[in-house]
């Protein structure tokens, strides 16, 4: 990878002051239409962010309804088991398809990726906007399905139940998931091309921040796995409308084939959720411990490794589902292989703290919470990848707890951490860090109370998706519900601290945390085309040239001292 020598002119802070005061992507053009028809990746990202957060609120409400219903065995707030079934189905479908999958790549990724990469925009801005409106369509269809009788299939839409249930909202929600799938595909496609083709000179593969590596790996999964979901849902719709019978055992079809299809997408989808989260954590930990991330290449490669492995382990969702013993064994063996790159990442993050200079900012607290929760989520994965124990634990609350630790405790916590990390960059305002940290703690505690009890419930044999349960389980359910209320309160506090920043927050400096990657080199909020001059790319994890600046209340990067940018400078630093 040879790179052309770059003209070195003064410190990069020039780029920050290089444009009129107050001219940024938020203010550059005005009016509603300048948002609706915008092609600026940052604005699209912001629209995504608000929409996803809205969906998160909705899904959260359903979660609370479910938890409240489970306070007592038998009826609590609804007499009708079917209503309960619709609640947990909606909670699952909304959280998976509308929230977690688009949350990091489409919302934060859209805002940050091009800036971090040093590009002016993503490769296909129109496609980007289109994918956002696909998301909106999907969301509307999802809500519409409620009006049309709701759906009680569980978010997995297992046949033949999903094709025979009398609930009227099934077809709309299938269509919704189908459309959302394409929204996700186009985002991924955009990111792959952007990372491949829009890297500025000097931004070689191994200078890319790890968040970009993670997004790249995610994008590959989105492009390769999601179409299979598309065709599966299409077949399901056809099955339900014109009775085609491919999944219908009554007509010689094969319901287990549906499960193969579904999990061929939905297992990789789990990594669509977690990989970008890992990327964010790499960023937050590196930036807040102000030292080079430990074992950069191992982390980068482990992302790709996880992405590739994720396609050949889907069968571990089907150990009890009539899948052949041989395949169970194969899938179990391969599933364990995913554990290794994940473990490597965790160790590297821990090692990054070693001899670092750790400042406990709000994002950092979220990152530490992530480490705690992801470790539990990952380790309990071992129980479920193991054949004999999975037979006992499958489809019990143990599984529920496990994937909440991974999807929510890891993916969503990381998403919120990332939100706090880049909030000043996105909106140019600092939030109340004390309140943010308290909220983080409350969420963290509430989360563990909610879901750790569910591990016990599951191991004791409480099946999932139960409206009614044996009295002896009640105590666990009560604890769990209390935890969920705590968590909800924590999220409210988070919202307060973030929205408060618009009113009481001080103006954010360009680089509040002392980051080194490119997004910290342009103003906050960034100008609409990100960089006045093509940025000069240094080692994004070399913090020796980052200095605290009292007058801006932030950090600044002395680019000229970085030998990789400015060979003249005699900065003493180990090259790697």
């Amino acid at each position: 990878m040879t790179t052309i020598p770059l003209p070195s002119s003064g410190p990069v802070r020039d780029t920050i002051e290089a444009r009129p005061e107050g001219d940024n992507y938020l203010t550059h053009t005005r009016g509603l239409f300048s948002w609706i028809f915008t092609l600026d990746h940052k604005r699209i990202g912001v629209m995504y962010m608000w929409s996803v957060l809205g969906a998160f609120l909705l899904g959260g409400i359903f979660a609370l309804l479910v938890r409240t219903e489970l306070l007592t065995p038998g009826p609590t707030i609804t007499e009708d088991a079917n209503t309960y079934n619709q609640w947990f189905t909606l909670h699952g479908a909304i959280m998976v398809f509308l929230v977690i999958i688009p949350s990091i790549p489409a919302a934060l990724g859209n805002i940050i990726l091009p800036v971090m990469l040093g590009a002016k925009d993503v490769a296909f801005p129109r496609l980007n906007l289109f994918s956002y409106y696909l998301w909106v369509t999907g969301a509307i269809l999802c809500i519409a399905s409620l009006a049309m009788g709701g759906f009680d299939t569980g978010w997995t839409f297992y046949t033949p139940y999903s094709t025979t249930t009398t609930a009227g909202g099934v077809i709309p929600v299938l269509t919704a998931a189908f459309v959302l799938g394409f929204s996700s595909i186009f985002t991924g496609l955009n990111f792959v091309v952007t990372v491949h083709k829009l890297r500025p000179p000097g931004m070689t593969w191994f200078r890319m921040p790890l968040f970009l590596w993670a997004l790249y790996a995610t994008a590959i999964i989105q492009v390769l796995a999601t179409p299979v979901l598309g065709i599966t849902l299409l077949l399901l719709i056809v099955e339900r409308t014109v009775n085609i019978g491919i999944f219908n055992p009554a007509m010689g079809g094969d319901p287990v084939l549906y499960q193969h299809f579904f999990w061929f997408y939905s297992h990789p989808a789990v990594y669509i959720m977690i990989l970008p989260a890992m990327g964010i954590i790499s960023e937050i930990i590196a930036v807040n411990s102000h030292r080079s991330i430990f074992g950069y290449r191992f982390i980068a490669f482990s992302s790709i490794a996880i992405a590739m492995f994720s396609f050949i382990v889907w069968g571990h969702h089907m150990f009890t589902s009539g899948q052949s013993a041989l395949l169970n064994t194969l899938f179990s063996a391969i599933s364990f292989s995913v554990a290794i790159p994940s473990a490597v990442k965790v160790f590297n993050w821990i090692a990054t703290l070693y001899k670092g200079s750790v400042s406990l900012t709000t994002p950092m607290w979220y990152a530490l919470a992530f480490l705690f929760l992801f470790t539990i989520g990952g380790l309990t994965g071992l129980h479920l990848a193991t054949l004999s124990t999975d037979v006992h634990l499958h489809d019990t609350y143990f599984v529920v707890a496990h994937f909440h630790y991974v999807m929510m405790g890891s993916a969503l916590i990381a998403m919120i951490g990332g939100l706090h990390h880049w909030w000043p960059k996105i909106f140019g305002r600092m939030y109340d860090e004390r309140l943010g940290t308290i909220a983080c703690w409350i969420i963290f505690i509430g989360f563990n109370v909610t879901f750790f009890t569910q591990f016990i419930l599951g191991a004791k044999g409480m099946p999932r998706r139960y409206y009614d349960y044996q009295p002896e389980f009640q105590v666990y359910h009560v604890i769990s519900t209390i935890g969920s209320y705590t968590m909800a309160f924590g999220f409210v506090l988070t919202a307060v601290s973030l929205f408060g920043s618009f009113f009481t927050g001080r103006k954010a400096p360009a680089n509040p945390w002392g980051g080194r990657s490119l997004e910290w080199q342009c103003a906050s909020p960034p100008p609409f085309d990100n960089f006045a001059k093509a940025p000069r790319v240094g080692d994004c994890y070399d913090f020796s040239v980052v200095h605290w600046d009292e007058k801006t209340g932030g950090y600044w990067v002395d680019e000229s001292a970085d030998p990789e940018v400015n060979p003249g400078a005699g900065g003493a630093k180990a090259a790697h």
Partner: protein, 330 residues
């Protein structure tokens, strides 16, 4: 790869300021020094490579999209081999073969079209695009004849495959099957008062096994058990009305293996989806032709033709596999 980018990379800090409203900053006429270069690209090469990679990734998604159906096909053929070897004979190999050739020829013209665009031959480009379009139409016409013939012979997917056509029973049944899923009847939620006045026939959910049978079968089946009057006709096709039910010849064929409808299910699923792609391709071709006539394309700006062409070729490529898998089973 980044080497290429580096070498073709041009610094243009100054122009970057030049953009006013980001709405048209991205348009085909975004850039000060080259109308074909969008503002966020640095060189035509970079823009072209991005477009190519983009369309190829899209084609990859198409491959996986159809891939799902190919897997379904493989599974069904594996669990019911007899069906495939039996039912394949109902397909018209000649028509299939002709269609294959039509698609191949249209691919050739498409490739030529790209070439003409690259070499500034507007006339040739328009001619080839139109030829390709004709190819698409030809393909669909032949497909139409194939489909209509099969549907007339009652060679369709699902339960209606077994419904003797052209008699009251069959029509009623077919009608029910058509309406049932779409009707709000399928939308009945227990305890949903909104659906009170719906006729019970439509009230049956789409794929419920019992919705699948002619209305008369149920009671007769039971009546026999409880010694009530003999079954109504048309439950089993009596010899009398099997003559007039001529189209459904396969129903009289005792050699027909169980579940034969599955072959036609997957047949219509795959060829149908492919057909939809052909229609979409026609849309693309029409758009390209229009732009070509408007004179948008030149050796400097032919990416649209190129990518559209790639899409058309993948449609052809998929058919190349569909043809032997359905028409040529021994």
């Amino acid at each position: 790869m980044s080497q290429t980018i580096a070498s073709t990379h041009t610094q243009h800090g100054a122009e970057a300021h030049g953009h006013g409203h980001d709405g048209h900053a991205h348009g085909d006429h975004g850039h000060a020094h080259d109308p074909n270069l969008a503002h966020h690209f640095d060189s035509l090469q970079q823009q072209f490579d991005s477009a190519k990679l983009g369309i190829w990734l899209f084609l990859a998604t198409e491959v996986l999209f159809f891939g799902g159906l190919f897997v379904a096909y493989a599974i069904l053929r594996m669990s019911h081999p007899e069906i495939f070897s039996y039912a394949s004979h109902y397909l018209d190999t000649v028509m299939g073969g002709i269609n294959t050739c039509v698609l191949i020829l249209s691919s050739v013209t498409m490739a030529m079209a790209v070439r003409f665009a690259q070499t500034n031959r507007r006339g040739g480009l328009i001619a080839c695009l139109i030829l390709t379009f004709m190819g698409a139409i030809g393909f669909l016409i032949i497909k139409y004849f194939e489909y209509s013939h099969k549907i007339h012979d009652n060679l369709v997917w699902g339960p209606s495959f077994y419904v003797p056509p052209h008699d009251a029973e069959g029509d009623a049944e077919a009608k029910m099957l058509k309406t049932a899923p779409a009707a709000p009847g399928a939308a009945i939620v227990v305890n949903n008062p909104a659906t009170f006045a719906i006729p019970d026939l439509a009230a049956k959910p789409a794929v419920d096994a019992s919705a699948v049978k002619p209305a008369s079968v149920g009671p007769t089946g039971v009546a026999r058990a409880s010694g009530a009057p003999a079954p109504a006709p048309a439950a089993e096709p009596a010899p009398g009305h099997s003559e007039e039910a001529h189209p459904g010849t396969h129903l009289e064929d005792k050699a027909m293996p169980p579940n034969t409808h599955l072959f036609f299910a997957i047949y219509y699923a795959m060829t149908g989806l492919h057909g939809i792609h052909v229609v979409a391709g026609m849309g693309v071709l029409a758009w390209l032709t229009w732009r070509a006539i408007r004179g948008d394309f030149s050796s400097k700006n032919f990416t649209a033709v190129d990518t559209g062409g790639l899409y058309w070729h993948i449609v052809d490529l998929i058919w190349i596999f569909l043809f032997p898998l359905f028409y040529l089973i021994h």
